[in-house]
């Protein structure tokens, strides 16, 4: 006869250390746990509520500029460093951890329109309305740390390239020596190689004298390695593709986006939209995709295109995804290094975070004192977001509003993961959905959004009616993804 007894071996219950957890044995038979789903639903609900409670995204502001922050660049090699340029020609290097200025780069006369750092983080390129491109040496990270206590150091430019036109933007190639400036055209420069062209006239103090072979003095000056011009309008933004370092995209005031390929040293394609593109960002994890931020006519607020469009660089005749939520022009856009989301700064004084494939934002950040956001960056570890705005401040936000900062114990981490998974699982149920999606908005934005909705709805209704009252097939509605695209030029 078999006798059933409860047997427990001491080995299984003996901890190896006093800190170890007691082992718990569970019976996972679902028949004896009939309430598990209900329990998990309640947990999901609580997790959603807790997320709301702990959502404190604003970490701090970095003040020091005396004019609007016009551009920013992150140091790809140093997590704590971020460069910012302002409208008064001031360039600063900030230490995000201590939220202080580490170093200043004085020299620009007009507004600084673009800053970019090389991949190794040693060289900073800046340009502005004073028609000069300046190269700077970035102080090493060790200096940055030791300089914490002392006053801000001041740097002298390594090089100065003078040009004919004002610059609007600059971006540095990933893992290369080239950088591109945008202005009257797109110029590709190489900061390791001097290109000289003979010049006839003296136009600035920065001129080198060379003797030609017949001892005639010739005047040379540094010049871009390559110049692209397609159309006559001003190019306002330029971005290199981090995944494919030889590909870059620009946007111009003629409402166009142009793609270039440096390997073939030619333009690739041009997309013309109804409204102007303010900024472009390439997805660092998907080198064929990029997202563009739009700026519309300012005549009617509701008609303005405040959306972002994600494109596949191969098929520009249709946007992959339209990201809409902003109520005013989107000024800047930056991808998270994970490639799963991007952040936008808008003229409506808010910062939003979108999923790369989602139509609506996951998060909106705003404060009372933050004005028009001109530039926005994701930190290199995808944990923080830095915004620069009209009020001359840089602001540091958490990319995930309720994230717990600091070192997490493994158990804590597991708990967080569990809560996240639960929220994700029950996000479609009405209560959880409501709590997760709810955000308090400033009144103007809330009203503007409502107005936009109304107008859009009216347009839609009108379209519907027109369709209903005309011969079948004579009126067609273009999908939203194609609606704003005028044509693709070759």
């Amino acid at each position: 006869m078999k006798v059933k007894v409860i047997s427990r071996s001491t080995e299984e219950f003996t901890r190896e250390r006093s800190q170890d957890l007691q082992r718990v044995f569970r019976n996972f038979d679902p028949n004896i746990r009939t309430q598990e789903k209900a329990v998990e639903y309640v947990r999901a609900l609580n997790a959603a509520k807790l997320e709301k409670i702990f959502a404190r995204p604003f970490v701090g502001a970095m003040d020091g500029h005396i004019d609007a922050v016009s551009c920013m660049a992150k140091n790809p090699n140093h997590l704590k460093g971020i460069f910012s340029g302002s409208m008064d020609g001031d360039i600063r290097l900030w230490d995000i951890a201590s939220r202080r200025t580490v170093c200043k780069f004085p020299g620009h006369q007009g507004a600084v329109k673009g800053v970019a750092a090389s991949t190794d983080g040693r060289i900073l390129v800046s340009c502005g309305t004073d028609c000069i491109v300046r190269l700077w040496n970035v102080p090493s990270s060790s200096v940055m740390e030791s300089n914490d206590s002392s006053d801000k150091s001041v740097q002298v430019p390594l090089e100065e390239y003078v040009w004919k036109n004002a610059f609007w933007a600059v971006d540095h190639q990933w893992d290369g020596d080239r950088f591109a400036t945008a202005g009257a055209g797109v110029h590709i420069w190489n900061h390791n190689k001097f290109c000289f062209n003979p010049v006839i006239l003296l136009c600035s103090d920065k001129v080198l004298l060379w003797l030609s072979h017949d001892n005639m003095p010739l005047i040379y000056r540094s010049a871009p390695e390559k110049t692209f011009e397609w159309g006559t309008d001003t190019v306002i933004s330029v971005r290199f593709n981090p995944g494919q370092p030889n590909v870059l995209a620009t946007s111009a005031t003629d409402r166009s986006i142009v793609l270039y390929d440096l390997r073939m040293s030619s333009e690739v394609t041009k997309l013309i939209m109804r409204t102007r593109t303010n900024s472009i960002a390439w997805n660092p994890m998907e080198p064929i995709n990029f997202t563009a931020a739009y700026h519309g006519s300012l005549i009617n607020q509701a008609n303005e295109d405040c959306n972002c469009y994600s494109y596949d660089a191969r098929k520009l005749d249709e946007a992959k995804c339209v990201h809409k939520d902003h109520v005013s022009a989107v000024m800047d856009i930056d991808y998270s290094p994970t490639g799963r989301e991007f952040v936008t700064g808008s003229y409506d004084r808010t910062v939003r975070i979108f999923p790369y494939n989602g139509g609506h934002s996951r998060e909106i950040y705003h404060t009372k004192r933050m004005q028009r956001v001109f530039c926005i960056k994701f930190s290199c570890d995808a944990t923080y977001v830095i915004s620069g705005s009209d009020d001359a401040n840089l602001r540091l936000w958490k990319a995930k509003a309720s994230e717990q900062l600091g070192v997490l114990l493994p158990r804590e981490q597991k708990r967080h993961n569990y809560h996240e998974a639960l929220k994700n699982r029950y996000k479609h149920l009405p209560e959880v959905k409501r709590i997760v999606r709810h955000r308090h908005l400033p009144k103007p934005i809330f009203k503007a959004a409502a107005l936009r909705r109304t107008v859009m709805e009216a347009v839609r209704r009108k379209e519907e009616r027109r369709k209903a009252h005309s011969a079948p097939g004579s009126v067609t509605t273009k999908p939203l993804r194609k609606r704003r695209i005028i044509k693709v030029e070759e």
Binding site: R26, R33, L201, R314, R425, E490
Partner: protein, 997 residues
Amino acid sequence: MAETKRKSRDNPNGKKSKKQKTLATQRDNKRKRRGPRLPSKFRKELDRLNPSGAGRSPSGSDAEERIDSDEGEVYAGNDVYEYEEGVTEEESKKNRRFDQVENLEYEMPEDFEDENVSSDDENEDDNAGEDSSGEEEHGDGRHSRMLQEITGMPGEAFEGKKKKNNNVITEAYPESEYNPSRDVLDGHGQISIEDLLDPLHGTSGYSMLRKRVHQMERKSGPTPTPLPKVERKRLDRKAAYQHSNKDALKWVPLIKRNREAGTIIFDNDVDLGFSTVGAIASEFEPRTEFEKKMASLVYDEKVMDAHKKDGARLLELNEVSVEDERDRQNRIAKMRSLLFRHEMKAKHIKKIKSKTFHRLLKKDRLKAASSENQIDPEAAKELARKHEFERAKERITLRHKSGSKWAKRIKERGLKAQDEGTRAAIAEQQHQHSLLTRKMNSMNDTSSSEESSDGDESDGYSSGEQDRTSRLLEEAKEKTLKVINEEDEVPNSGLLSLPFMVRGMKKRDEAAAEEAKLALEDFESLSKQLDGSSRGENTKVGPSSGRMVFNAAGTQAQKSSKTKSDDRTKADRFYDDSDGENDIEAEDNNDDEDICFHKHEVSFFSPCGSQSFDDIAKDPGPKTTDEVAIFASGAWKKVKAENNRVKGGNNNADKKKSPVALESVSKNEDLQVFHSFTYLLISGTLVKETEKDLGEDSDSDSEGQMVDGILSSGPKASYELPSQAELIHQAFAADNVEDDFEKHKQEILNEENPEPEKPVLLPGWGQWTHVQQKKGLPSWMVKEHDTAKKKREEALKKRKDAQLKHVIISEKLDKRAEKLYTKTLPFPYTSKEVFEQSIRMPIGPEFNPATAVGALNRPEVMKKPGQIIKPIEFEEVDPHKKTEQLKHVGQKQKQKQKQKPKQKQKKNKIVVWRRGCSGRVSVRRVGGNGWSALGLVGRHLGWSVGVREDRSAFWGRSVGVGVEMVGRHWGWSVGVREGRVRVLEGQSAFGMVSRCS
């Protein structure tokens, strides 16, 4: 005319459109209007500088503009080369307006200030700069070569200004010394290549040149007109677009894989490489003085060199000089002599017999020790240990407890007779003893006293196992009695004083009392048995009989009953009575039978009053079960008889007794009993009822009948069995199922569609009282009620279950359940089933094993704050391969790919490694305390073998800090953190991480 000539000269192939012509003429017009005059001398000079006939083609101007583009329009006006173009164009104008003039030079200066002629197309060319020059036509190149040959000018003069063959018709060559003759210009005589080659005849390289010319001639058909620049650029872009698209295609599988991966991990790129003992040892850095000294010697350059070489030099380095050796010998000799002397000294001291000397020596030693104690904690500890040892020794030997010969003698003689010194010595000894044993006493005080008391008791009671058991029984009995007596306390206030609580407690107390009594009975029986057995043993000794035994028990029981006489429960009475009965019965039996048998009977029947037969049967106390069987029937009879006997006397006893008896009987597998039950069932009355009847019926006659009936039912087998339906009907006689359902349905209907309230007549409400009295309810109220009623009826009719008689379909919507459903199917899902499946299984740690929880709860993106994430790097991905759950980005990925084939082999089994092989460790996930990702499989001799999530295994032992522990064995702790297997607490600084298959 001249124009046409020029045309033919410029473009020997004669391909030119009319449109272009007109364009050119227009431009010329423009130029003429604006052109300033240039002195002919200047112009000549220019021509000299630009001998290729810059004026002839716009390509010349192009080249100039290319340079211009750097400075912009500002300099464009100053460009000297412009004029030539102007000259040529002007000429054409002249052709139209004026007569043809031979002297072209004169007119040229007119266009001096002419603006930039280039068209939009040309502008674009400008951007292209030098790069575009490469794209120029072959024809142009040939032409310039030709010119070069003719003029003998260095190639540089032409290089910058390679012509671009444009559609625009341009002017003729400006006249200069380098230009060919007028005839040629006029088109009378074309210069053939042969003509040009002729003068070169005989020079070096002529034949080669000729050959090439021939080749070209053979091939050359008419050179096509180059496409317009816009067109060319477009084609370029198109090619570039296609190329870049093709290039982008390579990313697609990679992107797809990353998108489809359940989790993408941005990990620290941890590459342990080959970590062997040597590798880890090489990282060792000397820290202490000694280590540094050692290191300086070991890593001495000379030694290292010698090591690197054949090692022969090591011997040289190891050479010992004669002086050194002598020194060493001297040193050793000195040490030896010192040792010897020390030995001798010790011997000498030991030999000294003087006590004072030794005392002094001891004193000194103690002093030194005490002083040492104060300084050195280690010494103090040592001392403490020594003391402890002494104390223990004292406890064992009791040396100081005046047990010695000397002490005894002194005691014998009396202390008073001793002198001062001896007394002091005795006192000292006692003091010593007390000191040494003090701690022991303090520790064992209580236990020893207890023991002693126990001993006393045992002494008092006299030994013997039986006695002890009886004593235990006595005690138990006492305790139970105490429990029973204690029951009465009822709190006067608080929750427990509430009536229902009191009632409940009383009930519980009663139950407890019952139990206690049963226990008491048991004790008694046991004690009796014990007594009996003891008596049985002692029959010879004492004249005690079974009767006596019984009496003893009886008295005891009576005594106990007396003690709780205040308890007026039925059970108590029953207990008393039963006891009495037993008494009587026993008496009867005693009369009839002999003692020996009686003993058995007592043992069985004394508990019979309160216990069932079953219990008796189970009771281990009684001798045999056979006897139980024998007595079962007898008992039954006896019960009956007893009942009959006591019938008139005690009703209470009857009441209780009979059901107990019945029960006890029923539990026996007696055939008769079985019959009785069948009988009971068939007659349609439940056993319970009969019992109830029995309970209610105070008359024991009925019971007697019943028993008779039972007994007699066996033979009455002719009873007719009713049909099935009847049986069912009988069985559910009391249940009106249909009615119940009907009622239930009505209730539900009322709940879901509530009946309208009947209008209530309230005096003065809705109508004047007198009117109310006359007319009753106001009409509107009635009407309202009617409509409400009608509405309800309609609603009831509309219900789905209106026509279904046996069905209730609830139409109530549960609002609370609503929030548990989505209104529409959520976006990525295409079917309801899939969505429901996706949220079916729980994911929590309570509902899943620890190994699965990690995978279930893993977030989509795993990254570490403070970890810079680099953009994607290209890698080959097999698009047809199945995607995995986890995706590592960066170098990690590559590493994983390398391992791929291995992992496939390893699937579902743990690989055993041989110790000593080294390889690469890559543990991907950190196991927390739950070991979700990583389980330790085994340990041996400090080597740990674990399994990773992907079922590949690892083992290892390494050095590290701040690591999560996985396992420990022999002081080696193996942990895993950040993808490393490490040893937490190693015995040595060296470890080894290895993994191989």
